[in-house]
Symmetry: C2
Subunit: 333 residues, 2 copies
């Protein structure tokens, strides 16, 4: 195992410290317990968004803290849920009195810990609404989940709900927007290689030299099936077809197409996947109105990608286009 780290047990702490130094204009980093808040939070009168989860998926979530997106991010240990004693102070720190929306990826640990934190924060007088992201069509239940996992679509939920909060929507309205995105986004991923959790030091799973895993989760947990290696066009169909079927996309509809790298795949390859995905959508009469290509929800150095499709309407498109200024996503300002 070769990693650019020091003590494997200090990876999250040191990485977050560096993140805070690089983006001191945008965020404040709290270290005991660890959480990251938007500079100047709480923003008077604004509903706050808090998300979090295991580390190892960077830039998710800390990279999305800032204007028009998250007010706080709570990183757990690598691939491990953050604890309520982190989530509670993050929640109270960013509440302006207008309430807080928790955006929770559907993993058993995350769900439990955010639930506990929401109850405790509410006991302290903070109104909390929780929105569960479960966009992965690959499996119904998984190693770490009852129900579908929350994966790449999370970044779209955070961007669009963040824009709703920024324009002044109420707590119920922001939660409603987030739930609307969840209803209209689906994702499926593929792994070409495993990844190595720093303190474990061994690959979380193994793939043979000619084997890939279709429907992989973002922790290297099993997907639908292992198959022999195929070309990019074939793999793209295997990911996109179930997404479109599940979303029941029809000719004439408009979508956002998001090709997300898992961390170790060159950008050039993501564009080869994007090319075929856009062609398939075109053949079906679906209009790609917006796109996003890059490494946004990763699994350490895993090679592979996921494809997300979000059904757009004028409202979601306008919120997607709204200005955002975070370390990892920025436009309009």
């Amino acid at each position: 195992m070769k990693k650019l780290i020091n003590d494997p047990r200090a990876v999250v702490e040191e990485s977050v410290e560096g993140f805070g130094m690089a983006h001191a204009d945008l965020v404040d980093v709290h270290t005991d317990p660890i959480f990251i808040v938007r500079k100047g939070a709480p923003v008077a009168g604004k509903v706050a968004l808090v998300s979090g989860g295991g580390s190892g998926h960077e830039p998710l979530h800390a990279g999305f803290v800032g204007h028009g997106m998250l007010d706080a991010a709570v990183p757990g240990a690598v691939f491990t849920s953050p604890t309520p004693d982190q989530i509670i102070p993050a929640t109270t720190a960013v509440d302006s009195g207008a309430g807080v929306v928790h955006i929770v990826k559907n993993y058993t640990g995350d769900v439990l810990n955010f639930e506990t934190a929401a109850e405790m924060a509410q006991a302290e007088g903070v109104s909390v609404r929780s929105v569960l992201v479960n966009d992965d069509v690959a499996v119904e239940d998984s190693l770490y989940t009852a129900g579908r996992r929350g994966v790449g679509g999370t970044v779209l939920v955070e961007k669009i709900a963040g824009a709703a909060a920024e324009r002044g929507d109420s707590l119920d309205a922001v939660a409603g927007v987030a739930e609307g995105v969840v209803r209209n986004v689906r994702t499926m991923g593929v792994a070409l290689s495993g990844c190595i959790v720093p303190h474990a030091g061994v690959p979380s799973f193994e793939l043979a030299e000619d084997e890939i895993e279709i429907g992989i989760g973002i922790h290297g947990e099993p997907g639908r099936h292992k198959i022999p290696m195929e070309d990019a066009d074939g793999i793209t169909s295997r990911l996109l077809d179930p997404v479109l079927e599940d979303l029941e996309i029809k000719s004439g509809e408009q979508v956002l197409l998001f090709v997300n790298g898992m961390g170790g795949t060159p950008l050039s390859e993501l564009y080869i996947v994007y090319r075929r995905a856009a062609q398939i959508l075109g053949e079906r009469g679906v209009k790609v109105e917006r796109s996003l290509v890059g490494n946004y929800v990763t699994s350490l150095e895993m090679q592979g990608c996921s494809i997300s499709v979000l059904r757009l309407d004028d409202e979601l498109t306008a919120l997607w286009d709204a200005p955002v200024h975070t370390p990892a996503l920025r436009w309009g300002m």
Copy 2:
């Protein structure tokens, strides 16, 4: 070898096609020969910037085509210089009559081909100035170079010279700004693993399980020396110390600190390197005024990073801060 590709010989073509589809609002893609131009180019009265080089370093260069940065990018085959028959039409396509600056990374093939193209374009009535980027302090001459190689600092040259062109500077002035950046930026990189050129199918070089290469180039060509694996703080010193020494940075000066991923290294690890680099600069009394962390000048899926330091003055800082809108770098608009 597992890659998300189809025909290994069609990698650049298909990737650029997907890139053009994803960013149709920003760029136009020409396919025969291949080059990418800014939407709406030539921009009346504006000096144009053209860069290019071997593919495999994405988002460099095509990802930096757009407002405030490049007017055209010319991708060669993977790790292979583009040819004059690509560079010439790219140059003439974006010339408004105000002239064109070629930004050329110092590799023998790139230098020769851009030189030939500049002569041919000039014969067609285009005023061309060439600026050579040679920021790599690791080696004096290399496998592919007479003199120092052009590496990570290239993105800083393109951003800052692009801002000068956008504000209306003359051809000589834009070239002068670019040369000023080159004089004030230095870079050094490390590889933890090799990378695989698609049509070759085998690693370009091998590193043992406990071995890293200090001073690596962006094509996997040899650096200063192979050493046993060290921790991130130790590696950071090995990269940053020669950079600061060569740049003769003094206490009280202001810099931009750029930690660049080679493609296969998680963002969390880049921030661990950033942390130590910023600490070292702080200990020396150097003020980190601006920062950039991420995968901007890559070597396919290579694991590793480079550290660049750019000495800032008010002029360079203002040009760095100026609005930019490209697929891979965007702010202020």
